[in-house]
């Protein structure tokens, strides 16, 4: 609750900041300060269960250690993102304050999506996430790619909203308890009533759309590619993780009982996501676009959480969110500084900026899932969850084979950085752009990844912390 209120408030603060603050650099600090505040407030709630304001939410939002931990992860990652990329936000356009305001609103939506307890809140949360994102995507107004991405995102996003609503309508219609509360849906033991079944599929589709699962992923590469890189970093990580969190939350609470009845759908989607995501990423020349596909591929792994829906899956989801977000934010932070976004643009980075190269390597190794990185632990938890589930063993094998394919495109960057010489005379990166603070932050990010890889318990223990 604390996070929701504070993000909303801070969004408004930032909005007004846009009016009063003329200095371009100031909003960043304001935003960071706010986020620290939010992070602490959320930490307070997670630790002691104390809410700043006592609001009767009529049980429409539900907080527990699980989603508070997730919010903490999301806020932490966003904080890191702000710290790393604050200056890059300034470069997108003149409405710096507004961008931050929008991001705060997105965060508010993230919190709602993490804590929702009724379909209405889910819907609102998703929309509060989506609408600012449409705008952020198109914020580089004179860039045609940004325009195009925004329009594509918007059209398809609205389309998926329609599908989601249709699903909600059917769920409501089929629910003999006539309720939108996700824990208040009467399903029964046997085969689902057809209305619920149809509603479930619609919801599944719309959630798949949000987490860019194949075949509802088509917006992802184009939008991630077209959007200003900082915002790509933001939406491909925290927002996406929130989508997954909502996905799992919805399907666990609402349809967990009839899990076997829709598991096949998840299997199809997961398999397709793993395959298409990894395969398509292989051929990409632009690192940014490759990371877009990689986010699809990683989504394939995260879908295991929905596939298994057990304790390990939930732990894995938190871990995955953190691991994936950290690594992707890190790699995007470096990518933004690059002059050339193609893989060849990374040639010889290790020589010029060894530290950047090392951290980038850690990020990429984590994304590949090499042991002792957070990426491994998260993948490991997902695989455990899937194996524990016991069904569809082949899917697990497909997943690891795809993980092997993923090594191909992640390692291409490592190869470029370390084993290839820069082609042009000009440096691949502007040294002046790389401040000491930036480097320190990258090291911190990398260290977090390693720490989570060595000792994921520090994060996961919060899940069982009684609020």
């Amino acid at each position: 609750m604390n996070a929701i209120i504070l993000t909303a408030i801070w969004g408004v603060v930032m909005m007004f900041g846009g009016v009063f603050i003329k200095n371009k650099a100031t909003p960043k600090y304001l935003a960071i300060a706010g986020l620290v505040l939010i992070f602490l407030a959320n930490g307070l709630e997670l630790n002691t269960g104390r809410a700043l304001l006592n609001i009767d939410v009529k049980d429409m939002l539900h907080t527990n250690s699980f989603n508070l931990t997730f919010i903490a992860v999301a806020m932490g990652c966003t904080l890191l993102f702000f710290l790393l990329n604050g200056r890059d936000v300034e470069k997108v356009g003149s409405h710096v304050s507004e961008y931050f305001a929008l991001m705060f609103f997105v965060l508010c939506g993230v919190c709602i999506a993490a804590t929702f307890n009724t379909l209405l809140m889910l819907f609102l949360g998703i929309e509060i996430i989506s609408i600012p994102l449409y705008i952020l995507t198109g914020s580089d107004k004179r860039n045609l790619k940004s325009n195009e991405a925004a329009l594509k995102y918007f059209l398809m996003g609205a389309f998926s909203t329609g599908i989601m609503l249709m699903g909600i309508a059917f769920i409501y219609g089929g629910n003999e308890l006539a309720s939108f509360f996700i824990d208040n849906i009467k399903i029964g033991e046997g085969k689902m009533p057809v209305l619920l079944s149809v509603g479930l599929v619609f919801l599944l589709i719309s959630m798949s759309f949000k987490v860019s699962a194949v075949p509802f992923h088509f917006w992802t590469p184009d939008v991630y590619d077209g959007a200003p890189t900082v915002f790509t970093s933001f939406m491909s990580t925290i927002v996406k993780a929130a989508g997954f969190f909502a996905f799992v939350r919805l399907f666990e609470n609402a349809f967990g009982v009839v899990h076997p009845q829709w598991q096949t759908l998840i299997v199809i989607i997961t398999a397709a996501t793993l395959l298409i995501g990894n395969l398509t990423a292989v051929f990409q020349q632009s690192v940014k676009r490759m990371l877009a596909y990689s986010s699809i591929a990683q989504a394939g792994f995260m879908l295991f959480a929905v596939f298994a829906l057990n304790e390990k899956a939930k732990e894995g989801l938190i871990l995955y969110s953190a691991a994936y977000s950290l690594a992707t934010i890190g790699i995007f932070a470096i990518l933004i500084k690059m002059k050339d976004y193609t893989v060849d643009g990374f040639n010889g980075l290790a020589k010029q900026q060894p530290l950047l190269a090392i951290t980038a390597t850690i990020f990429l190794l984590s994304l590949t899932g090499i042991p002792l990185t957070a990426g491994f632990q998260s993948k490991f938890y997902m695989l455990m969850a899937a194996v524990q589930d016991g069904h569809q063993f082949w899917l697990v094998i497909l997943a690891v084979l795809c993980a092997a394919i993923s090594a191909y495109y992640y390692f291409r960057i490592i190869q470029a950085m370390y084993f290839k010489e820069a082609t042009a005379e000009a440096p691949v990166i502007d040294d002046a752009d790389i401040s000491k603070g930036f480097k320190i932050l990258l090291v911190i990010t990398a260290a977090l990844i390693i720490i989570l890889g060595v000792y994921p318990q520090i994060l996961l223990d919060w899940l069982y912390h009684s609020v």
Partner: protein, 165 residues
């Protein structure tokens, strides 16, 4: 056949027909107008279902505000010509076929639903007073939160519309 059924059929035919016209009209302005017709007929359905509040809101918000906005944009862009290029034939066909099969699939599944009566011309669930009570008792939080939506829409409009310095 009761009068309700007849009204239902008339409204339904109207809605579907207008929707089809909206989709197929070559001139965007015509599309907008047809959509307004759809909205009106849906409002008619609301009335039939005794959802008075929604019937009014639908007219005001949708047919009124939103569609005017659409019309405005269409006019602004000077798109009121009949020569809007259509997609190539094959894509159109594919779209119709897949959309149609989706319809068939859903219909064939959903028509197995047990027949349940719907309360028409009666009941107080859709009355303004009733809804007001519910909205401001139970739904305060979402109501407040939806303000964020509007705020962001507002900022969005600013960010996007305002000229870069």
């Amino acid at each position: 056949m009761s009068i309700t059924t007849i009204v239902f059929i008339i409204l339904s035919v109207m809605a579907v027909g207008a929707a089809l016209m909206m989709v197929s009209a070559k001139n965007p302005v015509h599309s907008v107008l047809w959509l307004i017709v759809v909205f009106f007929s849906i409002s008619g359905h609301y009335v039939l279902l005794n959802a008075q509040f929604l019937a009014i809101v639908n007219i005001i918000v949708y047919a009124g505000a939103i569609m005017v906005l659409f019309l405005f944009v269409v006019m602004l862009m000077n798109l009121n010509v009949e020569s809007e290029p259509m997609k190539n034939y094959r894509l159109q066909l594919a779209g119709v076929i897949s959309g149609g099969s989706l319809l068939l699939v859903l219909l064939s599944a959903l028509m197995k639903v047990q027949s349940t009566p719907v309360q028409t011309n009666d009941g107080d669930v859709g009355l303004i007073k009733k809804l007001g009570m519910v909205l401001f008792n139970d739904y305060v939080v979402p109501f407040e939160l939806s303000s964020i939506l509007f705020l962001s829409a507002m900022i969005g409009a600013v960010v996007i519309a305002k000229k870069e310095k």
